[in-house]
Symmetry: C2
Subunit: 408 residues, 2 copies
């Protein structure tokens, strides 16, 4: 007899926001089991609970040490997983909750953003063998020093993919408050279309370009271990978007999606002497202050000097400005400019590798709308432009239209 298939189902915070939603999720898990499928559930904290815990910590403390923040935050998933197990018991489904530690998610000791280093899922396997549904708290683990760790916001996706990998699950379903991955944000482009499938590479580029869900780390983990992801809604339960290996037999769409991101700011160091080692000195200084750099652009040298522009998350802007101003005399630059009114718009598509002219169409489309391009960055399957933030929604709309993403 064939072994029944195994699915990891991850339910995000809005999926378990209150008692009714928790019971609805339990009902759905019970139905999945009745189809003969073995299920492992991963659950996030209820609704806005993580935000509330963060607010409470801010009320109590200015220092908020990482070890204690992780102890605090992981209380959220603990509640959700216990309540979901109770609701499953009510339906006659035997279920046991497991903390990240009990589920065997071993992490490094980087509190508030720990990384999974090993998965010892023995208790989860035992529960499955006994015909029980393991319900695992998302985004949490235990360090080798036996401290409770938190994987960071969105880390429940990583927990789900890590368990799917360790258990060789047939698929990992990420239930969220959107019904899949779209050609553009449906709030900006009413005609945005849900994608049936998207490759790991495209999804990673979309995550990097600002697509908020699923969590980028989980997509990387899934790609590295060949775990098929299915992003779908716990409100409609209809099929969503599959994220999987690119199939070389199938012709790739030229463009899969338009993604925007308004979370970054731009810095420009002007009049930098064009000699070896100057850029290295600047970016080493930024790295030492843990500033995350995204795009970098260096203009051509005119009269032996150049301008270096780069983008950083808004939160890193003060530190980045501080580094640039401190280093300005040493590297002999003439000035430091910052601009936090920018946004990026990106086209992503595996097919653009074999279709020249995508950039040209993109730039023309923006130019025809009078939208100025301030920086450009590209990869094999992505083109990103920096534009004024006030114009970015318009940019998304016209690009979605120009590349005919609405039509199936």
């Amino acid at each position: 007899m064939a072994v029944a298939s195994l699915i990891v189902q991850k339910f995000g915070g809005t999926s378990v926001a209150d008692a009714d939603r928790i019971r609805a999720v339990a009902d759905y898990v019970a139905r999945t089991r009745r189809r003969g499928v073995r299920v492992v559930v991963v659950v996030s904290a209820m609704g806005k609970e993580t935000d509330e815990l963060l607010r409470l910590a801010a009320q109590v403390s200015d220092t908020r040490p990482g070890r204690e923040m992780d102890m605090l935050i992981t209380a959220g998933e603990r509640k959700a997983m216990a309540l979901l197990c109770m609701a499953l018991h009510d339906l006659g489904v035997p279920a046991d909750s497991f903390t990240g530690s009990q589920a065997g998610l071993i992490t490094d000791n980087e509190h508030t953003k720990a990384k999974v280093v090993e998965i010892r899922a023995d208790r989860i396997r035992s529960a499955l063998e006994e015909g029980r549904v393991p319900v695992v708290g998302g985004a949490q683990g235990v360090s080798l020093q036996n401290n409770v760790t938190f994987l960071g916001r969105g880390g429940s996706d990583t927990t789900a993919v890590a368990l799917a990998t360790a258990l060789s699950a047939d698929a990992c379903e990420l239930y969220t408050d959107v019904s899949g991955v779209f050609t553009a944000d449906p709030r900006v482009v009413p005609g945005a279309r849900r994608l049936h499938r998207v490759s790991f590479e495209e999804m990673l580029e979309m995550c990097a370009a600002g697509c908020p869900k699923p969590e980028m780390r989980s997509v990387e983990f899934a790609r590295n271990h060949g775990v098929k992801l299915h992003v779908r809604s716990s409100f409609t339960w209809e099929p969503g978007t599959w994220i999987e290996e690119e199939d070389p037999q199938v012709e790739q769409p030229i463009i899969s999606a338009v993604v925007s991101d308004a979370s970054e700011a731009k810095l420009t160091v002007t009049g930098v002497p064009d000699r070896p080692g100057v850029a290295a000195r600047l970016f080493r200084g930024l790295a030492d202050r843990l500033v995350n750099i995204d795009m970098i652009e260096q203009n051509i040298s005119i009269h032996g000097t150049t301008d270096i522009s780069f983008t950083v998350p808004h939160a890193d802007l003060p530190a980045a400005l501080d580094v640039c101003r401190t280093l300005q005399p040493e590297i002999g630059a003439t000035g430091v400019l910052s601009d936090d009114e920018i946004a990026t718009v990106s086209l992503i598509g595996a097919g653009m590798k074999t279709h020249p002219g995508v950039s040209a169409t993109m730039f023309e489309t923006l130019a025809n709308e009078g939208i100025n391009i301030e920086m450009i960055s590209t990869s094999a399957i992505r083109i990103t432009c920096v534009v004024r933030r006030t114009l970015v929604e318009q940019a998304v709309i016209v690009l979605h239209d120009a590349f005919k993403l609405e039509a199936e």
Copy 2:
């Protein structure tokens, strides 16, 4: 150099009800440390959080399996202990939070009311040796099967005493919302006096007779291991009541306190044939249904039959009635009466052992007030009377006065 003294400080829910209270507790712990005392902190869930978690569970589930209830409830202390550690860090006091499991509180597997079977406090000892303040979540442990367990309401007191025992602490301070143990409930008797000290035996009788704090189990644990308890207030920080071994050198007060309890109901099985085995059959039947019996009284036999009365917690009344009515034909009783309008009033005092006449004074005092005594039960240091519930506060007031408990 002498080793610094070690105190376990337990803070109840009202002591850590909000951010301000948590910071006040942190400040107090920091002050204790500045006096050169090593401190282990045990903390309950914030304010009414445990009640809120129970309400949430009732909204989600009808079955509420114990393992999952314990996983849920223990989230409460987890939040409080992490937040208190953060507040201590803010004050420059190095502190680490520990779950019951991390603190080494090994329990049996009786979920929702687990008992401590062993204490492996290695991590707590290490933290102390490093000069850190361990902050332990109260009322929680881990079973030998590696499941999270809850010790029950009030179990934080037991955690504190268990750790004080394991660490050979010099004292265990129970900070609560009352400033000590009183000669009577100050809400009922305005002149009630705080006791400076009370023996373990007296305190146990007071707990059994209805005194709500401290938790009875923790007092038993403290007596068995010789841990001095100090019940005091986290709102005034003034010295409270010491609970310790009776000192045979010191003359005992005749009466220490008057305690009342309105949480029980009375059942009477009438016309029971006065032959061997009948009472045994009845109380075996009640024990099989896990009904908790408190007082039992059997009247003298008249014409070969007798009446058996006993008291049970209100919650057990339906089960007890069911057992009695089912057994009535078998034991040949003539009827079953229930009465849930009763209450008990008790006098407790180690000195009454050597002072005859206490009962007589108690009965006369109640009779003079026209308060009828419906049942009586005594131990070496306690006398309890069942009276109408409507009259119990009056009974407490007149007894407190008759035995001159107000005067120092």
